[in-house]
Each structure stands twice: as structure tokens, then as C-alpha cells.
């Protein structure tokens, strides 16, 4: 039942997005401009700097992406959904939509990034896994924070203030893991990093699912 509602809501979000491509284009422009600013500032960079800057760019893009998905819906329409679907379905559909959006933006963004600043990645499969886990993690954590911001004051600044401290553990783990992928070194802690990232993702997912119904009852 919840799954059907989730799929229906997800289809609605994807269709709306595909018609106007408003968020997609906006985010593509955002990530393109950021990559260009970084390129013009640095021109040539070492692999470790490459990794760190990439994750910072992806982080800012993710915050913008998820904030848009909540903050652009009007209150009347939200009330309409409230009467139709269960809150778990709503947040689940938003999380999945954000994951898909972020994955697409990450792939396109990394392509532009590699084009101008080079691609020092040694271990492609591990890097791909890291980007996948990272986009998923950002989406899962930020969706609940965006819901909180939307209910609180619809303020973009609040979204940034709330989301940055919370995402730092995930960010540290992601940067470390992608450094291993980019430099191609053998790291004994590799499994630890992967398990920690997956654990953080699962925790964010479960917490969002549990807490969103309390937010929604309004």
C-alpha cells in the first residue's frame, strides 16, 4: 500500500520535473558555474585537492537540489497530498527522487569537472561506488532537514545552517574513501570506511522515515 503510493508520488515528481526540467537545468548551471570558478582559480590541481574540491562542489549542489524539492511546493498543494497519501510514502518518494536527481547531477558534474581539471582517478569502480553512496547519503540526510526547514520558515539560510554540521561525518568518510580510490593506494581501513558510510546512510533513512510523520501532522 505504502509502496504503491510511493511509486505514484515518485512518478508524479519525475513527470513534473521532466516537463519543465526547472530543477535539473538550474542545478546543472549551478554545478557548471562552480566547476568553472574552481578551474579558473586553480587551473591545475593535485589529486588530493581534486577530490576535496569535488566533494565540496557536490555538497553545495546537493543542499541546493534538496532544498528546491521541498521549498518550491505551495502550502495548499501540500495539504492536498496530506489528505491523499501516508507520510511515509511522501518522504520515501521525495528521498528516492532526490537520490535520482543527485546521481544524475553528480555524473554530469563530474564529467564537466574531469573535462577542465583532469581525471586522476585510479580505481574507477571504487570511485563510482563512493559517488553513489555519497549522493544517496546526501539525499537521505538532507530530505528530512529540508522538510524541517520547509515547515519552520521556508528559509534557505536555515537549511544551510542545519544541514552542514549534520553532514560532516559523512563528508569526512566520503573524502577519505575517494582519496583511496583516486590515489589507488591500499588502505587497511577500506572496509571500515564503507561500513561506516553505509551505516550512516541506513541511520539517516530510518530516522527520516520515523520522524517525518510527526512533522507532517500540521
Amino acid at each position: 500500500m505504502i509502496l504503491k503510493e510511493t511509486l505514484a508520488l515518485l512518478q508524479k515528481e519525475l513527470q513534473l520535473e521532466w516537463r519543465q526540467k526547472y530543477a535539473l537545468n538550474g542545478l546543472l548551471l549551478y554545478i557548471g558555474s562552480t566547476v568553472f570558478v574552481v578551474y579558473l582559480a586553480f587551473l591545475q590541481i593535485k589529486p588530493t585537492t581534486w577530490v576535496t574540491l569535488l566533494w565540496i562542489i557536490l555538497l553545495f549542489t546537493a543542499v541546493n537540489a534538496v532544498a528546491k524539492s521541498f521549498l518550491q511546493e505551495r502550502a495548499e498543494r501540500q495539504l492536498f497530498y496530506y489528505t491523499l497519501a501516508s507520510p511515509q510514502a511522501i518522504i520515501l518518494s521525495k528521498m528516492i527522487y532526490n537520490i535520482l536527481l543527485l546521481l544524475l547531477i553528480a555524473v554530469l558534474g563530474i564529467s564537466i569537472y574531469s573535462l577542465v581539471l583532469g581525471n586522476p582517478v585510479q580505481n574507477y569502480s571504487l570511485f563510482a561506488l563512493t559517488v553513489f553512496l555519497g549522493s544517496t547519503g546526501f539525499s537521505l540526510s538532507f530530505t528530512l532537514i529540508a522538510a524541517i526547514t520547509a515547515k519552520a520558515s521556508n528559509n534557505a539560510t536555515l537549511m544551510t545552517v542545519l544541514s552542514f554540521p549534520v553532514i560532516i561525518p559523512l563528508l569526512i568518510m566520503l573524502i577519505r574513501l575517494s582519496k583511496v580510490a583516486v590515489l589507488g593506494v591500499e588502505d587497511l581501513n577500506l572496509n571500515n570506511y564503507l561500513i561506516t558510510i553505509i551505516a550512516i546512510n541506513v541511520m539517516a533513512f530510518v530516522l527520516s522515515l520515523l520522524l517525518f510523520p510527526y512533522l507532517w501532522r500540521d
Binding site: S141, P165, V166
Partner: protein
Amino acid sequence: MLQPLDTITSKLLYAKWWKYLAIILLIYTIIAGFLVPVPRLHILNETIRNLYFHVTMWFGMLLTLLLSLIYSIIYLRTNNLKYDIIAEEAVKIAAFFGILGLITGMIWAQYTWGYWWNNDPRQTSAAVAVLIYFAYLILKNSMIDPEKSAKIGAVYNIFAFFAFLSLLYIVPRIADSLHPGSGGNSALGEFDLDSRMRMVFYPAILGWTFLGLWMASIRIRMRFIEEYLRFSENN
């Protein structure tokens, strides 16, 4: 209209015994902390006495935040605004203890490592952890309606607690750092702690926790009175 609290919480809030106990424990901590002989470790020497203050304050903060989490959950289940007031004041006191913990840590760092701020992962993640709770306070203040503020604050508090735990415990375990307990250093943990130090360590944790909760309880009671006055003014 404010509903009454449950009996356990209200009894504890207004009781005096644990407040006297806090004073006794802290006097004991300060006296014993400086007079009882401590084991000499390389580099640390006598500064290991800071363990009684720095580490115990962090544990006190952790316990206060755990309490805040519990009361946020209780608020979401019962919708009684008083529980949210307790949770919020507990976070304020915990943030204060967090800052104290950072300052005592910096003093300790200055004397053992040579720098106030060392770019150490545990130090940095501790600072970010305090930021998480500052963000909670900002969130709470951004809303005027008390019920909305309470509900959204409670949701964020629960989420933030788990982010805080992962920051405080997972990240330093994996990172290499100078801080005792991570990388290659000996942890001043349960198995290594000298039993003489344990005699001051555990009471100190209780002492700081109770002191923090005492400060919180005074603020909570003030808030309750304010809410009551506001309610009776409007009616």
C-alpha cells in the same frame, strides 16, 4: 494551556537531594583531583589531572544530551509542551558544557602538544558537534508559535543526536590523531584507567552531570512560571 508533568519528572525536578550531592561530589572532585597522587605518563605528567575536568565534562554533556533526547521523544508522544521545555533547556546547558569541554581541551593541548588548536580530528569534530546543537537553538528561535517550534525542534533534536554520536565516536576512531584514544595512542579508557583515578573520575562525571541538570532545572522552572503567567494573562 500547560498540562502537568508526570510524577517522576516533577519529583526529580523539584527535589533537593541530588543538588546537594552535586555540590559534595564537585568539592570532592576538586580537592581529590589536585591532591591525590596520579600516575606519571610520558609527556602528560601532572596535566593528566585535567582528565577529571575535561573528559568528565564531555561525559556530563553526553548524559545531558541523552536526557534531552528522551524528553524530545516523550514530547512527540504526549504533545505536552513542558517536556519540550525540558529538552530545550537541557540542550542549552549541554552546549555550555561542550564549550567548556573544548576550552579545557585547548588548555590541555597547549601544555602537552604545544598548540591551542591542532587541527586534530577529535578536536574539530567536537567543535562541529557543538555547532550541531547551536543550529538546534537557532532553529528553535526562528519560530514564534510555541507548538510548531516544539514539534520541529523535537524532530531535529532526535536527528541531531544520532549525527552527534556518529561525529563524536565513529570519526575519531578511524582517524589518526594525537588525541588519546584514537590512532596509536593508549586510550585513557576503562581498561587502562588507574583505579586511583577511577575513584575521582566517576564521581566527577556524576558531579558535573548533576550540576548541569541543576542549572537546567532552575531555567526550566523559570520557563514554567513564565508560561503559566502568559497563560493566565490571556485568560
